[in-house]
Every structure is written in structure tokens, then in C-alpha cells.
């Protein structure tokens, strides 16, 4: 059934038990992103120590896809150098914009590969990228401020 392809168990698990949720201190920059078509929103903070993503914390209102992908994001980037975090982001964006034709690399994206099915639904791609756009923006802000 198509629905299960999209809503993989991994996604539903992250939705029901999100990782890293809640806004925390300290942080260097915060980004607020909203999906104007549905009103979903996320506020995301990053804390960098040198080149390392020390913490990502977030809060938001949104569908299972947007909430789960932000949860997966924290797993993927916390503790990683910014460069590597951005490589993962690029891989995730490529996967999401691939209309279901991109084969994801589990070594890079870990739980993120579960979103391969979401990429077949163009209307939901923005949901999956909401947290990532906030992460990109927050890192840019913190680096700009440094």
C-alpha cells in the first residue's frame, strides 16, 4: 500500500518520539521557518563550538513528515563538523527533490533514507525540508555573527 511506503515505521517512530526536541541554551543562532501553504512552522537553534555542531534544538507545529525529518536531522548533524553536516543536508535535499528516483546512501543519511517514499509526493517535499532549511539558515546566521 502506498501509504506505508510513505509513512515508514521509522518516520512514525520519530514523529511519536522525537529526538532532541525542545529549545535549549546555549545557542548561537535561531531560525524560524514557516511553510506558507499549510502554516507549519519550526523554530530551530544551533550551538556551534568551533567547527563542531554541538547542539541543535527545536520546537514547532507540523505534520508527521516535518516533525520526523527535523528529529532525524538532529541525529545526523549533532556532533559533526559543519562541513559534514552540510554534506548530509545536500544528500537529503537531493533525495527529497529526486521524485523517488534517487537511491539514498544509508551510511550518509541513516534514518533519513526512510524519507525516500515521501519524495514521490511533491506536495510533501517542503514538509520534509522545513527543519533543514531552518538548520541551514541558523548556521549561516551564527557564522555571520561570529
Amino acid at each position: 500500500m502506498q501509504l506505508q511506503q510513505m509513512y515508514q515505521e521509522i518516520i512514525l517512530d520519530h514523529y511519536k518520539n522525537p529526538h532532541g526536541r525542545g529549545l535549549r541554551d546555549p545557542f548561537d543562532a535561531e531560525s524560524f521557518q514557516v511553510n506558507p501553504t499549510c502554516g507549519d512552522e519550526v523554530t530551530l537553534r544551533v550551538h556551534l563550538v568551533g567547527d563542531l555542531v554541538k547542539d541543535v534544538s527545536y520546537d514547532g507545529q507540523g505534520c508527521s513528515i516535518s516533525q520526523a525529518s527535523t528529529s532525524v536531522l538532529t541525529d545526523l548533524v549533532v556532533g559533526k563538523p559543519v562541513g559534514e553536516a552540510f554534506e548530509k543536508m545536500d544528500a537529503f535535499v537531493e533525495l527529497m527533490q529526486g521524485r523517488g528516483k534517487v537511491e539514498p546512501d544509508e551510511d550518509v543519511l541513516e534514518d533519513g533514507i526512510a524519507f525516500a517514499g515521501v519524495a514521490k509526493y511533491p506536495a510533501r517535499v517542503k514538509c520534509a525540508l522545513l527543519g533543514w532549511m531552518a538548520f541551514k539558515d541558523a548556521v549561516a546566521r551564527s557564522q555571520g555573527a561570529a
Binding site: 500500500m1 502506498q2 501509504l3 510513505m6 509513512y7 512514525l12 501553504t37 499549510c38 502554516g39 507549519d40 507545529q61 507540523g62 505534520c63 508527521s64 513528515i65 509526493y121 510533501r124 514538509c127
Partner: protein, 425 residues
């Protein structure tokens, strides 16, 4: 509304809409409950467009050849029939690309009034003048007014939503004051289907000499609407929500107002005399139809109006009322479902917005889609209204003449399915 007319033969009607017999998502029967966003088109409308293009296509209001004459007749003939359908006169209807453009036309033309001739002085917005809207508006009848207020220094005020999801008009005389220049409001909410008391608002506006601008996008397709009887000054609606084509909307304006209103979009077709130093403008409606207009779309909308007239708007409204009652009852019986806005079907069109506890509207819409059920999810271009309803977003089912009680049942079953899928049932 009560009617003595025979009920619709929905099965026969549905045969006119080829798209309704297709399947979606791996062979699921399509259950189309999103007519509030856009309606489907009967073959009669598509045939009319095709016949126009095959036999009469030419640029209208220019050229002296036979096709130009026939195309112009078809275009203006459609205007005439649409005018009759909404209780207006021929010269009071302006074709726009959509209803949104209609609202912008009025707002921008008013913004232009200060630098136009003395005949348009009644439209001038000065700093401190007031523009009144409501919390229930679609963004199309809100943002243009915010913008013209910003440009002119006018003050934006609004009627609030009451606890019951209807407009709170208890303070009508303190919201609409002698400073009020415009009262812009929706006839029927695109989210909750609430039908507003046009008479109360028109009376209050007339008392202080303010202009009324009615959003008729959700009323004209679904009920008998007579702009002269309503007494509004301007109104806008769109073709694609009433079985017609997209790319065409209609602005109604009382003749004497359109005569005095300065233009919005300028260029070819809308002029009277052009010299290098300046130009004068054609009388309405041409003054507001700059450039080559849409033609087959106007013909298609004319055919849509013919179709609706044959079916009968009272019957359409009664049919949708029955569907709305059934949907409210069916959804209310599902634990965990919260109906947004009024809980009853009194003074209400065929739109039912709701939330499902523990299932985000986007996710609910996805489950419904997997069952072949097309609904709208999100804030439906009415973000402030959703804030009033304490909802971040919603699922909206909206009905039209071709929907059935079986489809309402499918919606309710689909909602239970969504609850099961997300483990909240």
C-alpha cells in the same frame, strides 16, 4: 433555504463530468470534495470552449473581419448571460483574470483616485480614513486592503469572529463609523461556509456613505445571488469555482461607480484617445479590461452559467445543504474529531472544516488521498480565521452539485481510517 423544486438527479449530472469517473492512487474511485478550491467542469463547458475555438476564434473588440465580429459577439454574449445570472446589468461586469484581480482592481483604483480627476474624488482614501474588513476573509479580500491602507495612510479595522464561529456584529456601529470609506467582507466563508448577513453590513455602510465590496467567490457558485437586490457596490467571483474555466474572474460594480472609478491596469483596449502627452479612457467595462482579454474562458463561463441555470441554483443549494448536514452529523459522531466554526448548518454553505486529534491535517489529507478522497488541507488562504478558531490548520471538505451522500460516508470512514493509521483511534 427551503425549496419545493424536485431534488437533483445527481447520477445523471455526474455523467456530465468525465473526471468524476476516473480513478486515482492505484484504482481508487475518485471522491472529489475540494470544489471550494476549484470545481470540476461539465462537458457542456468544455464543448463550448472547443466550439468557440474551432469556429469563431479571433481577437475581440478589434478587427473588422467576420471572425472578429463573431468572437466579440460570443464574448459580450457571455457577459450578458453572466450578468443576468447574478442580477446585474450588462455594463456592470468586468472580466478579470480571477477574483483576486477583481479585489485588487478596486483597491488599486481607489489608491489611484487621489491623482485622477474630480469625478473619482469619492474613492479617495486619505490618512485616517477607515477600511473595514473581517477576520473571516480569504487573503484575497484582505491583503489588497492592507496594502492600500499602507499606501494611503488609511486605517484598517475589522470585525471579529464570535465564539460561535460567525461574525460578531454586536459592535457594528463602532466598527463602521463616519470615517469608514470601504467595508469589504465575504458573502460565504471559504473555510466554514458561514453565510454572512449582507443586509446588516450594507445598511451600516450605507448609513455612513461607505462603499461595500463583497467576496462572492463561494456564494455565486452555490446559491441564488442577486447583486442588485443585495445592494452591494462591488463584488468579485471566479469562473473556476462555478464549473467554468480558470483564468477568468468577474468584478461587479454598480454602473455609476464604475463610470467614476479610475483605471487599474492600463494599455490597449481601455483607452478613448491617446496622445503622446496623455490619454483618456474608455467607459466601463472596457476601461478595466486592458490588453487582449481571455475569450474562450469567457465563453466557457457563459456555458457554465447556462448549465447552472438549467439545474437551478435553489436545487444546488438545497442539495449541498443536505450533504453538509450529513457531513456534520457523520464527523461529529467520530470521537477525536473537532468541527471548526459553527456546529450547525444554519446560514451555511457546503464547506466543513475539522481537525482530528493526534493527526495533523496534512497527514489526514494524505490518508484520505490514499483512499481516493480529495480534500483541502492547510489554512485555505484564511490564516487569520484559523488563528481565531484556535487551529494551526484544518482539513476542509467542500461540496458541489455532483457530490453524493455516499461520498460523505466515504469521508467519515476515511477519517476513521486516518485515526487507525496513526494509532489514535
Amino acid at each position: 433555504m427551503t425549496t419545493t423544486a424536485a431534488p437533483l438527479d445527481v447520477a445523471a449530472l455526474r455523467a456530465d463530468f468525465p473526471i468524476l469517473s476516473r480513478t486515482v492512487r492505484d484504482g481508487k474511485r475518485l471522491v472529489y470534495l475540494d470544489s471550494g478550491a476549484t470545481s470540476q467542469r461539465p462537458t457542456q463547458v468544455m464543448d463550448a470552449e472547443r466550439a468557440f475555438l474551432e469556429q469563431h476564434n479571433a481577437a475581440v473588440h478589434r478587427g473588422a473581419h467576420q471572425l472578429a465580429e463573431e468572437a466579440t459577439d460570443a464574448y459580450e454574449g457571455a457577459r450578458q448571460r453572466i450578468a443576468e445570472f447574478v442580477g446585474a446589468s450588462f455594463g456592470e461586469l468586468v472580466f478579470t483574470k480571477n477574483a483576486t484581480e477583481g479585489f485588487n482592481l478596486v483597491a488599486y483604483a481607489m489608491g489611484n483616485a487621489a491623482t485622477s480627476g474630480p469625478e473619482s474624488s469619492r474613492f479617495v482614501l486619505n490618512p485616517g480614513d477607515e477600511i473595514v474588513v473581517t477576520e473571516m476573509e480569504h487573503h484575497a479580500n484582505l491583503v489588497p486592503w492592507q496594502q492600500v491602507a499602507q499606501r494611503t495612510g488609511a486605517v484598517l479595522k475589522w470585525f471579529r469572529l464570535g465564539q460561535d464561529g460567525r461574525l460578531d456584529l454586536s459592535d457594528v456601529d463602532s466598527v463602521i463609523t463616519p470615517r469608514t470609506k470601504v467595508v469589504a467582507f465575504t458573502h460565504q466563508s471559504n473555510v466554514t461556509g458561514v453565510i454572512n448577513p449582507v443586509d446588516v453590513l450594507v445598511a451600516a455602510a450605507q448609513k455612513v456613505g461607505a462603499l461595500t465590496v463583497l467576496d462572492a467567490c463561494q456564494s455565486v457558485p452555490h446559491s441564488t445571488v442577486d447583486f442588485h437586490a443585495l445592494g452591494v457596490d462591488f463584488a468579485a467571483f471566479s469562473g473556476h469555482k462555478m464549473l467554468g474555466p480558470s483564468g477568468i474572474g468577474v468584478l461587479y460594480g454598480r454602473r455609476e461607480l464604475l463610470e467614476a472609478l479610475p483605471p487599474f491596469i492600463t494599455g490597449g483596449s481601455m483607452i478613448e484617445l491617446v496622445k503622446m502627452e496623455g490619454s483618456t479612457f474608455a467607459p466601463p467595462p472596457q476601461r478595466f479590461e486592458a490588453g487582449s482579454p481571455m475569450t474562450s474562458q469567457a465563453v466557457g463561463l457563459g456555458a457554465a452559467v447556462d448549465y447552472l441555470s438549467i439545474v437551478g441554483m435553489e436545487r444546488v443549494h438545497a442539495h449541498e445543504h443536505a450533504l453538509t448536514v450529513a457531513a456534520l452529523e457523520g464527523l461529529r459522531a467520530v470521537p477525536g474529531v473537532r468541527l471548526l466554526g459553527p456546529q450547525d448548518a444554519v446560514d451555511r454553505g457546503g464547506a466543513v472544516p475539522f481537525e482530528i486529534e493526534g493527526v495533523h491535517p496534512h497527514d489526514a489529507g494524505q490518508v484520505l488521498d490514499s483512499l481516493g478522497i480529495a480534500v483541502r488541507v492547510g489554512h485555505h488562504c484564511a490564516w487569520p480565521l484559523h488563528r481565531c478558531l484556535n487551529a494551526q490548520s484544518s482539513v476542509r471538505a467542500s461540496f458541489y452539485l455532483y457530490n453524493t451522500l455516499d461520498e460523505v460516508d466515504a469521508l467519515v470512514d476515511g477519517v476513521r481510517e486516518a485515526q487507525k493509521f496513526f494509532g489514535v483511534a
